[in-house]
Amino acid sequence: MFGIRFNHGRIERNLILLGVLTLITISIGGLVQVIPLFTIESTIERVGGIRPYTPLELAGRDIYVREGCYTCHSQMVRPFRDERERYGHYSLAAESMFDRPFQWGSKRTGPDLARVGGRYSDEWHVLHLRHPRELVPETVMPDYAFLDRPLNYADIRERLAAQRSLGVPYTEEMVANARADLEAQARPAEDGAAFAARYARARQMDPDGNPRAITEMDAIVAYLQMLGTLVDFSEVTPERLRQQ
């Protein structure tokens, strides 16, 4: 057909030729995955407002990962009209640029959580996490009442440092004050000026209403309440959303 008859017998008998051709074939698959990463700089939109997680939010995020919330909840509003109607503006790459690892997920047993921040009150989240069916009778979400236990944040400074080593722009000041910032955010009665200066648009809160303890519940609600709230879409122009 092409003049030279294809001869796999020759390839199969020549170990070096077989090895080289196998390498070429496999590397095509690898390149397809790797090459897009070279364009990551132009993939992330130039929008304002994105900041690293506060220490309390980061601790809450770790609980989110530990409990496997991503197995039922995605954090990715896709660019479809129906998703926009339900959840709001589609997710931007910039909104998960500091996620190590990201929590996009691929399965929705429950709703998408990328824009859940501020949709409910802190108290609602606490009651719902404890006993979801008291508020949403038809839900199949498990009870997370056990999150009403003290948060272990002895290593919060190291956790910020680890994120920093992965490229998240925590300053040395943020890392050094991680413990103080976590406690300041979880104790609304305390002066949070230094904390607020380091983390824009972060709110002091005590979701479980127990000022005597900083609980895992406080941390995860702090995380949930900031999801999707950092970018002010009323100030975002189509130009800024353009990738490339």
Binding site: N7, H8, G9, I35, P36, F38, T39, R78, P79, F80, R81, R84, E85, R86, G88, Y90, G118, R119, Y120, S121, D122, E123, W124, L127, E134, L135, V136, R203, M205, G209, S234, P238, L241, Q243, Q244
Partner: protein, 294 residues
């Protein structure tokens, strides 16, 4: 060297009468069964299709990532949104231009607002207030004519737009139920007497002496917001205490807990999340759900 694949497939298998590939293992030869031609050409056509597709659609990140057609999923979504908006814009424009009273008077507008409001309620409100607006402990029922902050059209719109104690809205409705016992303003015994008096306001007290002691506590600490007879105040969102509608549980333990630790429910402000027309539709829907107060 014997090259099987180079050998002309002259061998004919005696049983089937078909040619063999010439591959032979211990006397067993493989029948030559090539792929059907229709399958093979479909396969080639797929490769050709893919080659064209890669050029037209976003597949090669180094070449602009949109392909020759300039297609993006975000662009599609934006066009979808514009088309949908254009389709309902005439109705939305009429909704925005009309006062709530005019909407109620116009059957077309009212029907549109009720349908849109029901959808918006299912998405934005049902999580707390229940699928039918029936509420839950701590989250008021919207399906009755008992309103904390007012149930006429203007009051409902104000509540939706600015929320109640919403942390990110400066114009939000605000008031504070103190933590009377936790913050040392009342002793536990005084709070228990006040709770007994609150029960008495609804005709449910079982301990007259305690209720009489509680009357004084109530007059001094509670009446400024909840009214002298517990009739409530919409200006402060202070619930009526002389009826059988209870947001946080109306038994003595529930009332005592409320007095001791305070209650300050939060509703988000929706002005920044929902557009003006959607809020207007929600107002019409909720007004119909909750007693159509004038």
């Amino acid at each position: 060297m014997d090259d099987h694949s180079q050998r002309a497939p002259a061998d004919i298998d005696a049983v089937t009468g078909r040619t063999t590939t010439g591959h032979e293992w211990d006397g067993i030869r493989e029948l030559n069964t090539p792929l059907p031609k229709w399958w093979l050409w479909t396969f080639y056509a797929c490769i050709a299709f893919a080659a064209v597709w890669v050029v037209l659609y976003p597949a090669l990140p180094m070449t602009g990532a949109t392909g020759l057609l300039g297609h993006t999923a975000r662009g599609d979504a934006e066009r979808d949104r514009r088309e949908q908006a254009a389709a309902i814009e005439p109705m939305l424009a009429r909704l925005r231009a009309a006062t709530p009273a005019q909407i109620l008077a116009d059957p077309d507008l009212r029907g549109f607002a009720m349908a849109g409001g029901r959808m918006a309620f299912a998405n934005a409100c049902a999580g707390c207030h229940g699928a039918g607006g029936q509420g839950a402990p701590g989250f008021p029922s919207l399906a009755d004519d008992e309103w904390l902050w007012g149930g006429d059209l203007a009051a409902i719109e104000e509540t939706i737009r600015h929320g109640i104690r919403a942390p990110d809205d400066d114009a939000t409705r605000n008031s504070l139920m103190p933590r009377f016992v936790a913050d040392g303003m009342l002793t536990v015994a005084q709070a228990a007497d006040a709770a007994e008096y609150v029960l008495a306001l609804g005709g449910r007290s079982t301990d007259g002496a305690s209720a009489i002691r509680g009357a004084a506590v109530f007059a001094e600490n509670c009446a400024s917001c909840h009214g002298e007879r517990g009739q409530g105040s919409r200006e402060m969102g202070a619930p009526r205490l002389d009826d059988r509608v209870w947001l946080y549980g109306g038994d003595k333990a529930g009332i005592l807990r409320t007095i001791s630790l305070g209650r300050n429910g939060v509703m988000p402000a929706w002005e920044s999340r929902l557009d003006a027309a959607t809020i207007r539709m929600l107002v019409i829907y909720l007004h119909s759900l909750g007693g159509t107060e004038q």
